[in-house]
Amino acid sequence: MSTAVAEVVEKKSEPLFSKKNKKLITNPLDIDNPITVQVLGICSALAVTTQMKPAMVMAIALLVVTTSSNGIISLLRNTIPSRIRIIVQLAIVSLWVIMVDQLLKAYVYEVWKQLSVFVGLIITNCIVMGRLEAFAMGNKPGSSLLDGLGNGFGYGLILLIVGFFRELLGGGSIFGFKVFEAMGIHYQGNGLMLLPAGACIIVGLIIWVQRSINGYRETH
C-alpha cells in the first residue's frame, strides 16, 4: 500500500533526480563549467590556487554560499521588484557571506584566520550573482538548489585542478606535503606557477584539453 502512495506523489511532482535535474549537477562539471565555459569567477581562481588547501576551502565556502543564496532568491523570486533585483541579490549574498565569516570566527578560529580574506571575496565572485540572475530568478527552489550545487562543484573542480598543478610545480608539494622531497628528489620550485600568470596558463591549458575532448565550440 505504502509504495503505491509514494508512486502517486512522485508522479505529481518531478522526482528530485530526474534527467533534467541531474543535468543541473553534471553540466557545470563539464560542458557548462562556470570557469572554463561561462568564464566566471576567474579572478578568484587566480588568487586562491597557489596551494590546494585554500583552494579547497574556497571551493567549499563558495558551494555553501551559491547554493543557499540560489535557494533563498528562488523562494523570493516572485516578490522581488525587477528594478532593484540586483541589489536585493547582493544583499542576500552579502548576508550569507558575513554569516559564514562570523560563524567561522567564533567556532573554528584557526580556519577563519586562513580564510577570512577569501570568504570576503565570495561577494564579488561573479558565479554567485551570475547563477542568481541566470537561474534562480526564473526557477523553483528545488532546481535552484541543485543548480547552485552543480556550479559550486564545477568551480571547485577547476580550482582543485589548478591548485594541484600550481602547488606541485611551484612549491613541490600537495596539501603541504613535500612530494619531491619524500621521493628523494631535490626540486627547485617554479616561481612562475606561484604568480597569477601561472594560473592563467593552467586555466588556458585546461580549457584546451576540455574542448578538444568534448568538442565544444563558441557560437557567434
Binding site: V48, T79, P81, S82, L95, G171, G189, L194
Partner: protein, 242 residues
C-alpha cells in the same frame, strides 16, 4: 503592483531591516566567543615564541604562571599602573616612536622570580597589502632571539602569508639584534635557498614575497629602536648583577 515605487521602497526597507537585524544579532551573539578566541591567540603567540606548545596545553594557566606583563615608554621606564592588555598596539603604531606605549612580557624564572629568563616584545608594521604583527622573544642576554611569531591581515596566501608559518619563523632563532653596542636588527634577504647560518643579522628570504619581507624588516627596525633604551638599560643591570 510589483513595479510601483511604494512597493519597491517598502521591499528595500524590509530587506535592509531583516538582513541588518540578522547580522546585528549574529555579531552580538558571537562576540564573546570571538573575543575569547582573539585573547587566547594572543597568549598563545606570546608563549610559542619562548617554548614549544603541544595540543591540549592549558594556555590560560600557563600564561598566568609564567608571564609578567608591564608597559614601558621610549626611555625604557616602566609606566606604573598601566596594563599591557589595555595598550592597543595597532593604535600606538601610528604614533611617533618616542610617544608610543610599549607593552612588555617577561618570562620569570619559576624558582627565582627576580630573574628574567626571556623578554617578549610585540612588533607591528605593514606588509605588502595590510598590517602585519607579531612577537619577538629575546634570551636573557637581551640580544639573542629565542623565537618569533608573526601574523598578518592580508598577505598573499602561499607567498607573503608564509610569515605565519613555522618554517619561516624558525629561521630567526639564534640570530642577534645587536652588533656589540650598535642596533643591527635582523634582516630578511631577497631570494630563497641561501645559507645565512654564519651571519647573525641575516635570514633567508621568501621567494616571491620580497615586499612582505621588507615589511617585516621595517617592522623589526622600527620596534627594536623603540625598545632599544630599555634593552640597553636592562642588559647593563644584568651584567652588573653577574
Amino acid at each position: 503592483m510589483r513595479q510601483s515605487n511604494l512597493y519597491i521602497i517598502l521591499y528595500a526597507a524590509a530587506i535592509t531591516v531583516v538582513c541588518g537585524g540578522l547580522l546585528a544579532f549574529a555579531s552580538q551573539a558571537l562576540k564573546p566567543l570571538q573575543d575569547a578566541n582573539v585573547e587566547l591567540e594572543r597568549k598563545q603567540n606570546i608563549l610559542t615564541t619562548v617554548m614549544p606548545l603541544t595540543k591540549g596545553d592549558d594556555i590560560n594557566a600557563l600564561y598566568a604562571a609564567k608571564v609578567k606583563e608591564s608597559v614601558i615608554d621610549f626611555q625604557g621606564n616602566v609606566k606604573e599602573g598601566m596594563k599591557a592588555t589595555d595598550v592597543d598596539i595597532a593604535k600606538e603604531y601610528k604614533k611617533a616612536p618616542q610617544e608610543r606605549l610599549l607593552p612588555l612580557y617577561e618570562f620569570r624564572d619559576e624558582t627565582d622570580p627576580s630573574k628574567v629568563n626571556n623578554v617578549v616584545l610585540p612588533v607591528y608594521g605593514f606588509g605588502l597589502w595590510n598590517d602585519i604583527w607579531g612577537f619577538v622573544a629575546l634570551q636573557s642576554d637581551l640580544n639573542t632571539i629565542q623565537g618569533v611569531s608573526f601574523a598578518h591581515k592580508g598577505e598573499t596566501p602561499g607567498l607573503g602569508a608564509r610569515i605565519a608559518s613555522e618554517e619561516i619563523q624558525d629561521r630567526y632563532k639564534g640570530k642577534s639584534i645587536f652588533d656589540a653596542d650598535a642596533l643591527e636588527s635582523v634582516v630578511m634577504q631577497k631570494g630563497e635557498g641561501n645559507d645565512y647560518s654564519n651571519d647573525p643579522h641575516k635570514v633567508d628570504g621568501m621567494s616571491g614575497a620580497t615586499l612582505t619581507a621588507k615589511g617585516v624588516n621595517n617592522m623589526f627596525a622600527d620596534y627594536f629602536s623603540c625598545y632599544k633604551n630599555y634593552l640597553k638599560k636592562s642588559s647593563q643591570n644584568v651584567s652588573q648583577n653577574l
